[in-house]
Each structure stands twice: as C-alpha cells, then as structure tokens.
Point group: C2
Chain length 291, copies 2
C-alpha cells in the first residue's frame, strides 16, 4: 500500500517552481506576484491564507496580503479587484472564501480577470476547463492531478467515483478525470447529497475522491480492494485533549480503509499541500502567459 | 411504456413561444430575431439549418440565414460575428457546426457574444452552466430537460448514465442532470470511448442518455427493466431502398429496448425536435434579457 504523501509530492512541485523563479531573477526579471484578499478573520481562512503566503516565500514569489473588515461593502471589494486587475505587476489574485453574507460571492469571483484567476473559479476559467482549453484549474482538483502525476498512477479507463459536487472541488474534479487528458480518461460517477446508493457506487470505484466534508464517513466496507483513495475532507473536529482544541479530520476512516486501498492520501499531509502547490503552479503560469 | 414524443413535447414549447411572440407584436414590439450562419453545404447541416429557419417562422420569430463558401477565411467569419454582436436588432447568433478545417471552431464559438450565444457553446455560457448561474444551455441537453419536464419524469436521486462526453451533448447533459435543479439531482455516470465496462454501467441506469453516434448500439441486454431511455443519436445510414437513399438511425435499438423501458424517445421524432425547441426558448430568453 502506497501512502500518497502530499508533503513529498508538493515539495517536488515547489522545488521545480523555485528553480524557475531563481532563473527569472538571474535573468533580471521580477518574480511572480500573488495577491491574496482576506475578508474578516475566520480561523480556517486565516490558516489557509497564511500557508499560501508562506509558500510564496518558499518558491521565491512576491506576495501581498490585503485584509478587509468583515463588514466591508461589496463595492469596495470590487473596486480593489478592478485596481489589481489593471496592475501589470500583479500576476495572480485570490479571494479567500467564504465571504461574509452581504457580499455576492459569485460576483466577486467573476470580477477577477480571467488572466489572473489563479483560483480557477471565474466562469471563463470553468468554461475553458470544460472545453479542454488551456485554463487555470481550481487549485484542489489541480493538486490532485499533480498528485496522480507525481505517483504515476494510471487513470485511463478506470472508474472514478467523486463524492461532492461543489464548484471548488467535486464538479471540476469530475470534469478533469473524465476529460481526454493523460491523467484523465476515467469513467466518472459524480455523487452528492441526493445519491441513493452511495455505498454500492463507492464499492465500484477504482479511484475514490471523497469531498463531502463528513469526517471519517468513508469506511472500509465502502471501498474496493486495491482502490486509490483521495481524501479531500478537511474538517476541524473538537478535541479538548489537544493544544489547539481541535484535530483536522478527513472524510475517510484512514486506518480501516488503508488496509484495502492500493494507495491513499492522508489528512493532514495529503491533498492539502497539493492544493497550495496547484495554486503556485497557476501563479507561475499566469506570470509566464503575461510575459 | 411511454413514448417520449418529441413532436408533441416540442409543439407544447413552441405553442407557448408563439403566444409570447404574438403578445410582443400586439404591444408594438419587434419579434425575436435569430441569425444562423452556414458555411459550405454539408447535407446534414443544410437540413438542420433549414429546420431552424422554418421553426422560427412557426413561432413568429424573424430569422436570417447567412451563407459562406466552404473556402471562407476565418477573419471574414470573425468580422461578420463582430458585426452581428453589435447589431441591437439581433438577439441570437448560431454558427452551424462543423466548420471547415481552415477555421478554428473554438475561436468562432467564443467570438459570439455571451448575451447572444443561443447555442450555449461559448466558454462563458458553459462556465455559468457549471456554476448554476442563469445561462444559455446548449440546445440538445436543454431540449432533453424540456422533454423530462413535459412528461413530468422525476429525476431526483436517480442514477443517470450518459454515454458520450462531447461539449455539445454529453458533457453539458452530465452537468445538468447532476446539478441542483428540479429535473436534475441525479447521480451521474459519464461514459465515453475509454469506458471499460459500458454494459455493466448501462444496466445500472435509471435514466440512460445515449449520445455515442453508433446506430443501434444500445441493445435490450444493456438496459435495466423500467429505465428511461433518451436517444440522442442521429446518424444517416445508407439505405438504397428509400427515396433519400438513407435512413436516420438513433444509438438505441428501439424495438428491443422499448420492451424493457418505462419511457423511450424514438429517432427520428424524439430528441431532435426538442433540440430546436431548446434553441427557440434560448432565443426568446436572449430577446427578453436585452429588453
């Protein structure tokens, strides 16, 4: 059984990006520049953004964190995005989700110019993904594809079952895995909250992508012998015995499932680091397209 | 067993659109206006375009058919689309596919302004479809949704198997059926040329959408008792015994499959007429959004 170690696989991606950035600097060019916008002070969002900023430093990118109060008006945020869209020294813009209720999330996402949409959430990016055109793939599905690539896990003709139909993970993941790509060409079943016979479908999966947000939901009796398991779940579960007061749990009951799987990504240390690697690759791509 | 009669279901849609158009005229407004662009003289394309123009007349729309020689340069076509995009008296623009080899199909499709993209092939339209935002749904999947609606076929929680991953039919169909829509919320399996166990998967389908372009491929032994069968196939098969020299065949072996299905769409007279109904509804929608 192979552990799909996101720390190792993401390090390989980051090392390569660092080499690319160093070369740019040597050539007298500026490094890629990512701007992250954080509204409010949600604990998980703070962690994610901090991690993205830290990774920028690791690969040699410039990063800027712009903070707004929870009570910010939509107009102010839109004006800021417009300004960043027009700034030639900025390559990628990401708006950390979720946003407070007074703000139309879809409007904000689609305000980011497609050429700087390193999160891949803009409707143009999504449309291009569906049509198989060059685009920015959302960071988590992109990270999973990079993971498959790193561990050279063949996908063609396999049956992938994706649980969860979010715009951020499940939906684009199902599109990618079923597309005519080297790490694609799977038959894909997309499951969600209305799926009637989830256990039965999971048992058919050669590749199982769990993105339902229910800690430990996928048990060994739902998994086929030899399956590849990709756990996208990342839920904070209260645990007073720890220093932080919580633990991070995936959607997969790792211990029991690992005994049947041929390969499995742990949580933490699996898909999470790959997501940031995907974002960093998108940022370099945005930079290179501009230059 | 219910025959899903596309002539009846499309007539219902068209009758409603005719009433809407009549009302517009009574109010002193102009009717919706669809422009179709036809390059070359492919037999099937000629038939489709003629049918679209005829249906415009039926529902009271204005239509304009613009023809170009097979040898046309891409630039000329792009200029024409740009001109139509800027013409306020035109609501919908469709470019009949396929296009000749010297023309980049994707470039042409994406040149049509999203607000006039009644075929729903533009990347913005596709992105909005994925994100569940108001958009133009490609005519064939839209027609199938209208068919399900007309015959009040419940879909929620059912397992839909879609065969074929084209941008025009299979892919958007799989997205729609799995979306959080009244005639959606299916678990969807998307199959294609690399699918290993197609028969086995088809046998699980409560709803089977066949869009592979292989006449008569789906046989009774691939279909579950009581399934709903939607046949998108429309292949010209040589038949010297007919006046035209060919017959139109679907992907489903109608006679044998009809005995097991709870509902089935025939070819011709099933999904085909619904496709045009979908296009007409999109054109009205484009008109109304502008006004």
């Amino acid at each position: 059984m192979q552990i799909l170690d996101g720390k190792i696989a993401s390090k390989a991606v980051k090392d390569q990006l660092k080499l690319q950035t160093d070369k740019l600097i040597e050539e007298g060019k500026r490094p890629p520049h990512l701007v992250a916008i954080l509204v409010g002070s949600n604990g998980a969002s703070e962690t994610y953004v901090a991690s993205k900023v830290k990774t920028c430093a690791e690969v040699g990118y410039q990063s800027t964190l712009i903070r707004f109060e929870e009570s910010i008006e939509e107009r102010i945020l839109l004006d800021k995005i417009e300004q960043l869209n027009n700034d030639n020294e900025i390559d990628g813009i990401l708006v950390q989700l979720p946003l407070p209720k007074q703000i139309n999330e879809s409007k904000i996402i689609n305000a980011v110019h497609p050429s700087k949409d390193v999160d891949g959430f803009n409707q143009v990016s999504v449309g291009r993904l569906v049509q198989g055109l060059p685009t920015f793939v959302p960071a988590t599905p992109f990270g999973i594809m990079l993971m498959l690539e790193h561990y050279k896990l063949e996908t063609k003709g396999k049956h992938a079952v994706v649980i969860g139909r979010s715009n951020i993970v499940g939906r684009p993941m199902s599109i990618l895995l079923s597309s005519n790509l080297y790490y694609g060409n799977c038959t894909v079943t997309l499951c969600h909250s209305h799926t009637a016979n989830l256990n039965e479908l999971c048992l058919q999966a050669d590749i199982l992508v769990a993105a339902l947000g229910k800690p430990g939901y996928i048990k060994a009796d739902m998994v086929k012998e030899g399956a590849i398991i990709l756990d996208v779940g990342i839920t904070r579960v209260d645990d007073p015995s720890t220093n932080k007061g919580y633990v991070i749990m995936g959607d997969v009951d790792f211990k029991s499932v690992a005994e049947k799987a041929s390969a499995i990504s742990p949580v933490p240390g699996g898909v999470g680091p790959m997501t940031i690697a995907g974002l960093m690759k998108n940022t370099m791509e945005a930079y290179l397209r501009k230059v």
